[in-house]
């Protein structure tokens, strides 16, 4: 019996501590949009409804356990049904649920209203990065994990935003209604930022819609929520919300940067230049599957180091990178990488880790090929 008392005391203590815990940020974030606040308040209403029901039910239960103990000589009553009581405790929960369904329905309708957006962003999930395309603005880029492998393995100290940092965040203007159009190139991913209360699956063959109107400038972090393969834990989402003016400036800067990155398609690149650029691209895009040392992860991800069929057939190698492998995990990179990057990474793969083909591909050849293909 003493143990039962200990248990009850423990239960009461944890119930009493719950508000403290909630105050200390163990709870759902309130977020920075009108919708996220609505969702938070739905969450808290249903939470307190559960707490109240819990106190009543567990109170009655523990009272009975305490009061009607056999060891204290309690004699059992003989009643075993009571129609009106049973009707009441069926009806009351029903009424509570109807009361809960009303605000939930209103919020849901609001969430589904993606009309009249000021800005459209195409969000594409890829194993294991996000690609953002500002529709009508000619700006597109991929957003990769910014945390180093050394931090993950424990060789370096972990930073403040460990696993929740990217090389290039999604930049959005505050106060604007931004529509997100979500899809995927490979498996199902799910784009989630808790502070924005947006979570939406990105599914191959589908374009899902969601929207967000951020009220405060700031950096908001989240990550992929749907198991998408081995690096599911390593595809964060970072949204940087900025004032409209700053956003317009950023768009201009971004376009210039993209033009610079694609520059040099026409000139002749030296082997060293290609290898240097290729190593960067390989590390950002290819290494998560084929490994930094090209050893791969057979049988799903073949090794590239010492891959003789690949070294024997340059044309096949380029085609695989550009168009992917149908029915397998290798994606097509024709829309993700520019001609310089494709040329560099193919050259790198053919000449790194003991691969000594000695051949290289020029960006101009790739550009020609991409042009032919798109015709």
């Amino acid at each position: 019996m003493r143990t039962l008392l200990v248990w009850m005391a423990g239960g009461l203590t944890s119930a009493a501590l719950t508000p403290v815990a909630l105050a200390n940020g163990w709870n759902m974030p309130v977020g920075v949009t009108a919708l996220s606040r609505d969702i938070y308040s739905l969450h808290m209403i249903i939470f307190w409804i559960c707490v109240v029901i819990g106190v009543i039910v567990f109170g009655a239960m523990f009272y009975s356990l305490f009061r009607y103990r056999h060891s204290r000589g309690a004699k059992a009553a003989t009643f075993h049904e009571h129609t009106s009581v049973e009707v009441i405790w069926t009806a009351i929960p029903l009424l509570i649920l109807v009361g809960m369904a009303v605000p939930a329905t209103a919020t849901l309708k609001n969430m589904y209203d993606t009309s009249e957006a000021d800005l459209d962003i195409m969000v594409t999930g890829q194993q294991w990065r996000w690609r953002y395309e500002y529709l009508g603005e000619d700006v597109a880029f991929t957003s990769n994990l910014g945390t180093s492998r050394e931090q993950i393995s424990g060789a370096d100290e972990k930073g403040e935003h460990y696993l929740l940092e990217v090389d290039e965040p999604l930049v959005l203007p505050v106060g604007q209604k931004v529509r997100l159009l979500l899809t995927s190139d490979d498996v199902i991913h799910s784009w989630w930022v808790p502070d924005l209360a947006v979570k939406q699956d990105a599914i191959p063959g589908f374009v899902n819609e969601n929207w967000v109107r951020i009220e405060e400038p700031g950096i908001y972090r989240g990550q992929c929520a749907e198991l998408c393969g081995k690096d599911h834990a390593f595809m964060p989402v970072v949204v940087e919300a900025v004032e409209q003016e700053r956003f317009d400036e950023w768009l201009v800067e971004r376009k210039q940067a993209a033009a610079q990155a694609a520059a040099g398609v026409d000139r002749e690149w030296s082997m060293e230049e290609l290898m240097e650029r290729g190593e960067q691209v390989y590390g950002a895009v290819c290494a998560s599957c084929h490994q930094p040392d090209g050893s791969g992860n057979p049988p799903v991800f073949p090794a590239l180091a010492g891959n003789q069929p690949m070294l024997d057939d340059l044309d096949w190698h380029v085609d695989t990178v550009v168009n992917g492998v149908s029915g397998a995990a290798m994606p097509a990179f024709r829309s993700t990488l520019n001609a310089v990057e494709i040329a560099a990474v193919v050259t790198y793969e053919r000449n790194a880790w003991g691969n000594e083909s000695g051949d290289s591909v020029q960006p101009s050849e790739i550009a020609e090929r991409l042009a032919d293909q798109s015709e």
């Binding site: 056999h70 069926t90 369904a101 939930a104 393995s153 393969g229």
Partner: protein, 543 residues
Amino acid sequence: MASHLPPKPTPQHSTATAGGMAEAEHPRPSGLMRWLLTTNHKEIGSLYLIFSLTMFFIGGIFALVVRAELFQPGLQLVRPEFFNQMTTMHGLIMVFGAIMPAFVGLANWMVPLQIGAPDMALPRLNNFSFWLLPVAFTLLLSTLLMPGGGPNFGWTFYAPLSTTYAPPSTTFFILSLHIAGISSILGAINIIATILNLRAPGMRMMDMPLFVWTWLITAFLLIAVMPVLAGVITMMLMDINFGTSFFNAAGGGDPVLFQHLFWFFGHPEVYIMILPAFGIVSAIIPTFCRKRLFGYASMVYATAAIAILSFLVWAHHMFVVGLPLVAELFFMYTTMLIAVPTGVKVFNWVATMFRGSISFEPPMLFALAFVVQFTVGGFSGLMLAISPADFQYHDTYFVVAHFHYVLVPGALFAILAGAYYWLPKWTGHYPHLRLSQWHFWLSVIGVNLTFFPMHFAGLAGMPRRIPDYALQFADFNLASSLGAILFGASQLLFVLVIIKCVRGGEKAPARAWEGAEDLEWSVPSPAPLHTFETPPEFHPHQH
């Protein structure tokens, strides 16, 4: 109706060789062959329970690998590829290998005893249903050793991660699930045939103990949904090996279709794992309150209501896949409705305790912990039903906390309660009291330390199925991992209790518990190999 039929009086099909009366003339095979060929419901029940316990420990070791990797941030012990295989195998083994066979084992043992039947209606089929399971799970476990590793796409195996992007062993995974599914369907047929045909004369449907009722309803659920699972994994098989595109968007297929089919199976499956638990707890609480179960009829109707609703709620697992608004609303409302019959059950249990004469033997401790902890899982389920809020909860550790509360401190505790309750009937001895109490308290502490912090981790933003996490989740994960070690280790005490109980201990009379009333307590303890060879007298006032 069927209840007026006499139970099968001739038990010639109730043992491996000949059967009850002829047993003396025909020696039974001994050793391995005895177990391989047995058609006795008690022996097959024991086989199921031992199999389930073995799988429980294998699945538990996988869970501990997961918890060990999550002990602190960073990748320390396993690679993400292997981590994903561990989470997947843990789920598959626990759902299909531990919880479901445990309930089937309890049904094998107790349903004939509770309805006064000499055996299951289809004893040879019973043998076959059991022996399919070791085959299925040996095959499933062997995929871990195949090139590319075992299933790594979660126990929900969403396409196309489980088809186009899956390891080559997936075809074997599909085969093993087919075999386990056949086992479940055959088992369900057997249980339905037994309950409908072999009840003691005079026992009407509304006289049956609730464990029998909940299993009857569960068996219908199994027959309804296991073929859907078989269908969806066959479609996967076709996509992987025969070039179809059911779930491949590039070929015009539909990855969301997979989820509709899977959850049309999956949600009733969830209730398959909880309804028999309701039955066990509904037997134990009245016994140790020395008072009849409150609201027997409403318990039966609530169980049936939950079973019917279970076919109308599947898309609440898919609130963020981009369903149309109307579907979202429909599934939110139906899901909320489930709280009503579930609430009725909890209220009935509490009303049974009210003005009872309550004692706290080990089965009662587990049953009471079930009521509290299952209700906690029910509360988080109610929260998850609120579709707008689910956009924040979905695929986070909040969901992991929710379904583990329902399945571990819920269903598993009910199974443990049932084991403690019926061990005197099975072995003739009471389980060792002190050890049982230690097992209970360590399990309660361990299980809550493991799963309660997961609510906070999920709300704070931690997705499920990740091998590494951001630093703000570190404390929650540390607590969960410590709890998991405690919970896992304390289950070894359970094994010790069972071994001691089989070997000896305080002798139990036929009616091992003072307040126990069902028919199983009218046969000696331990129950002889053959019981109710002549139908018992049944007095239908007991409910």
